[in-house]
């Protein structure tokens, strides 16, 4: 008898689930998929307000040629003073520095591509806009990867695609002359510190294996002194800290950030403290940058899908709350 009772109690029969209870997750996923897809078919123009964080980075990159001219003027002034004092060592140093500065008159931008396929939807549009802006202004670009070796090929493809883009805005750019992609070296912090001493000692060759000594762009770049701005596009927490420590604090460079939306919130305090020039936060940041650059791409396109997906999320939250209050009301009545 006891055995029979135990058997009966152990065979638990779950209550019969309705179709909605069985399939509500699938319905929500399909709705989200359709919302995103709907955004892609929409051609409705989107008006985006460009935030000061985005504007800060845009203006800083835009001002690179001016920064270079300012540095050249300052070095020439110092050279005059050294010649007056007849300080041979100083004269030689300044002449070498000046020669290098004048080889890239529109300045040099270092872009660190620290993203992989999982963060590319947010960071790739930023990289494309930054490269277009730099090439449009005749700024030379140095690219590298600091964290994940897998990012290297992705970054190389992006740079090459944009460099070969022939539009009204700029002529196709040449590898080794207008841009160089250095690739990856292990231990980002040490590599960035070493780049402050000499880029050639940190990277002997570029990603394609060309000797850096033979590349025209590198004739004018020895270390951070010949680089105006550093922009980090990262999906990894910790990388911005390294660049702020090395780039800004140690070598006094202007550092800008492009972060995935998940980690962007952590870096807003650095804008107020002026430790970074600006911050692009996720896809929204990328879309704002495209708007500011007047070169709309996948960022703005993605924001349409974001709008539809967020509208769906709000709708589901409202429905959920109504359902919650109705069931609460029913319970009270019972």
């Amino acid at each position: 008898m006891n055995d029979k009772q135990n058997k009966e109690s152990s065979t638990f029969i779950p209550p019969k689930k309705s179709w909605w209870e069985k399939n509500y997750r699938a319905v929500i996923y399909i709705a989200a998929f359709l919302a995103v897809l709907g955004g892609m078919f929409s051609n409705k123009p989107m008006h985006l307000n460009v935030s000061s964080a985005t504007k800060g980075l845009f203006d800083s990159v835009e001002a690179i040629p001016k920064k270079r001219q300012k540095t050249i003027a300052e070095v020439e002034e110092k050279l005059k003073k050294a010649e007056e004092k007849k300080d041979d060592k100083k004269i030689r140093e300044l002449k070498t520095y000046l020669t290098r500065l004048k080889l890239n008159t529109n300045g040099v931008l270092l872009i660190c591509f620290d993203f992989d396929p999982s963060t590319a939807p947010e960071l790739k549009p930023m990289a494309i806009s930054l490269l277009r802006q730099a090439f449009k202004n005749g700024i030379k670009v140095i690219g590298n990867v600091g964290y994940n070796v897998i990012s290297a090929q992705l970054a190389q493809n992006i740079i090459e695609n944009i460099a070969h883009e022939s539009s009204d805005k700029f002529q196709p750019k040449k590898a080794g002359k207008d841009y160089v992609f250095l690739g990856f070296r292990p231990n980002a912090f040490m590599v960035y510190m070493q780049m402050g001493e000499s880029i050639l000692s940190a990277y002997e060759t570029d990603y394609a294996g060309n000797d850096l000594n033979t590349l025209p762009i590198m004739k004018g770049v020895h270390d951070y002194a010949e680089i105006e701005d550093v922009v980090l596009l990262s999906g990894y927490v910790g990388m911005p800290e390294i660049w702020m420590n090395v780039g800004k604090t140690k070598f006094g460079k202007d550092v800008g950030l492009g972060m995935t939306a998940v980690s962007a919130a952590d870096y807003y305090p650095y804008i107020q403290s002026k430790q970074i020039t600006g911050l692009l936060a996720g896809l929204r940041g990328a879309a704002e940058y495209e708007t500011e650059l007047k070169s709309l791409g996948s960022g703005v396109k993605g924001m349409r899908s974001q709008l539809y997906a967020h509208s769906l999320a709000i709708l589901l939250i409202v429905i959920g709350n109504i359902e919650f209050f109705i069931s609460k009301f029913r319970k009270k009545r019972k």
Binding site: R25, Q153, R185, K301, Q306
Partner: protein, 331 residues
């Protein structure tokens, strides 16, 4: 985007099907999802190992060591003769165009010519000391002093200097030390592998200690300066912000909000005092409100990030897979 070749199209189809396999997890855990997961991990690790070798071990260890062993066989006097011949050849092929230029070039001392500056720079890069090698130095100086140097082609000069510098690395003491350092680094790196043997795992503590010591030593002062001093400095701001004598209300309110936020959140995390009086409880609640606003913003950003990832995949499926395939077959 239209795939260029059939192989490109095949790649897109594989990527699309794997994407769909991953999405199938949303309905139920299944064999195809597990298979895709295994493929992803395997490919990532394999690809990562190859790339790390190509970008780390090959340029930093393999190439310098092979070059060093190869260059040990090079004859020093032969290298010197080649350099002098190359420099003379350049000078002969770049004759100055007029008398003034000739006089000016001849008068420029070795260290003040463009060649001197660039050469000096190239040598500094490879940590060579020209002064300690009087025979080569004198030979190069004489060759330049007796030359009619034309300065118009600075890159050709630098090219000569680079060749000089590269060949010269073979005979430098600093190069030997550099190679010794590479071997030492390689040895330290190999010690990490001792972790595979439980008996010898303790050996891996040495390279670990070396890495941590250097890392912490270099990062600590910079971190302190960036994270602590920089942020403290940025929070010392005027409560009332004025622009040419008039109060900037929006900025002032922002500053007040910032100061209140910092103090209240710091007070909330100060657990050494009992927060029983009205002021303490009020300040703590304000701190919590600030934290909640921060968390809310982070959460909203997280949703946006996840939707962005979905957008990336849906865009790939729509543009590259469906549209790409249709366009490839001429539809």
């Amino acid at each position: 985007m239209i795939p260029d070749t059939f192989i490109d199209l095949t790649g897109i189809w594989v990527a699309a099907l794997l994407t769909l396999c991953v999405f199938s997890f949303l309905i139920k855990d299944n064999f195809m999802f597990k298979l895709t997961e295994a493929i992803f991990v395997g490919v990532s690790v394999g690809y990562g190992i190859v790339l790390t070798y190509q970008n780390g071990i090959k340029p930093k260890i393999e190439k310098p060591l092979i070059k060093y062993v190869h260059n040990l066989k090079v004859d020093k006097s032969a290298v010197t003769n080649t350099i002098i011949t190359e420099i003379n050849h350049f000078i002969k092929s770049n004759k100055p165009t007029n008398e003034t230029q000739l006089a000016a070039c001849a008068a420029i001392p070795f260290n003040e010519t463009g060649f001197g500056v660039l050469m000096d720079e190239t040598l500094t890069r490879s940590s060579l000391d020209l002064a300690n090698q009087p025979d080569v130095s004198t030979a190069v100086q004489n060759a330049l002093k007796n030359s009619t140097l034309n300065m118009k082609n600075i890159f050709a000069l630098e090219k000569s200097a680079e060749k000089y510098s590269k060949s010269y690395k073979t005979v430098s003491l600093s190069r030997n030390l550099w190679v010794a350092y590479i071997i030492f680094s390689l040895f330290l790196g190999l010690l990490f592998l001792s972790r595979f043997s439980p008996k010898h795992a303790w050996i891996s503590r040495y390279p670990m200690a070396y890495l941590l010591g250097i890392g912490v030593g270099m990062a600590m002062p910079l971190n302190f300066q960036t994270q602590i001093l920089g942020q403290i400095q940025a929070s010392i701001i005027p409560i009332v912000h004025t622009v040419s004598g008039t109060i900037d209300w929006s900025k002032s309110i922002g500053n007040i909000s910032l100061i209140v936020g910092i103090l209240s959140v710091l007070y909330y995390f100060f657990f050494s005092l009992k927060k029983e009086d009205i002021f303490s409880r009020g300040l703590t609640k304000v701190g919590i409100a600030y934290l909640m606003i921060g968390f809310g913003a982070s959460f909203a950003f997280t949703i946006m990030a996840r939707v962005s990832l979905l957008i990336g995949r849906v865009e790939f499926l729509k543009e590259e897979w469906i549209m790409g395939t249709l366009k490839y077959f001429g539809f």
